[in-house]
Amino acid sequence: MSPESTLYKGKTGQWAFVLHRVTGFLVLMFLLLHIVDVSMLSFPRIYNEIHALYGNVLMRLFEVGLLFGLVYHALNGLRVIMIDFFPGSIKNEKSVFYSIFSLTILLTIIGGFIILRPFFTGSVH
């Protein structure tokens, strides 16, 4: 789209924008897949079998990635909304971006620990 749709990109840094775009895209791809796997609820046995896959280590790592993408996109989205609706409300855009990124990393580590814990305690394979 023309620059109107991405007006904020020059102001707050190309990285924030690129990462917002990549995470938005990946979360959408997961949503599309997730709608299909949940639709198997009409076939309970197949649903449970497919769903058991989410417990394996690779899928758990993938879920940690999804957590990172979702949290970053959500927090950065709020930042974009603040800048657009309340111009001037964010004084130091750079440090706000670094705070958001650090908070994303922190929440991903905490959430990742909880998601991966069953793997370390040996209750999944």
Partner: protein, 136 residues
């Protein structure tokens, strides 16, 4: 329309451009409002299914218990609808940026709209028709 206004508008494009601009303003606004709502819906949903419960326990009977309460059906349906609308509209921005060939762009967009509508129908049917007690 006044002469002054007409002189600043590109010839042959007036009505169309006006409605396109209205749509883009509306779309810009929608991304922000839906983003605010999704902030709660998506993060609560992820926390419930991955943090407060282990993902391996989210079986058919888990869903049956949750969806026995209409609140959660409405919650999940809103997440489905807003996530698809917000995500597909976002994907439309991305296609506008990267797919420069007009014919290819139209084809890619047509494909993604059809896919989004199909998945919206599939998801809605799943949420509306689910009868939990079958599975135990």
């Amino acid at each position: 329309m006044s002469t002054a206004e007409r002189s600043t508008t590109r010839p042959g494009s007036t009505p169309n451009r006006r409605s396109r601009q209205n749509f883009e303003t509306w779309s810009w606004f929608f991304m922000r409002i839906s983003g605010l709502i999704l902030f709660f819906l998506a993060l609560i949903h992820f926390s419930l299914t991955h943090i407060f419960h282990d993902v391996t326990t989210t079986t058919v009977s888990f869903v049956a218990k949750r969806w026995a309460n209409p609140f959660w059906r409405v919650f999940d349906w809103l997440l489905l609808a807003l996530g698809l609308l917000h995500g597909t509209n976002g994907l439309r921005f991305i296609m506008d940026d990267y797919v420069r060939n007009p014919r290819k762009r139209a084809a890619v967009k047509a494909f993604m709209y059809v896919l989004a509508v199909a998945l919206f129908v599939l998801g809605t049917i799943t949420i509306v028709t689910f009868k939990g007690n079958l599975a135990g």
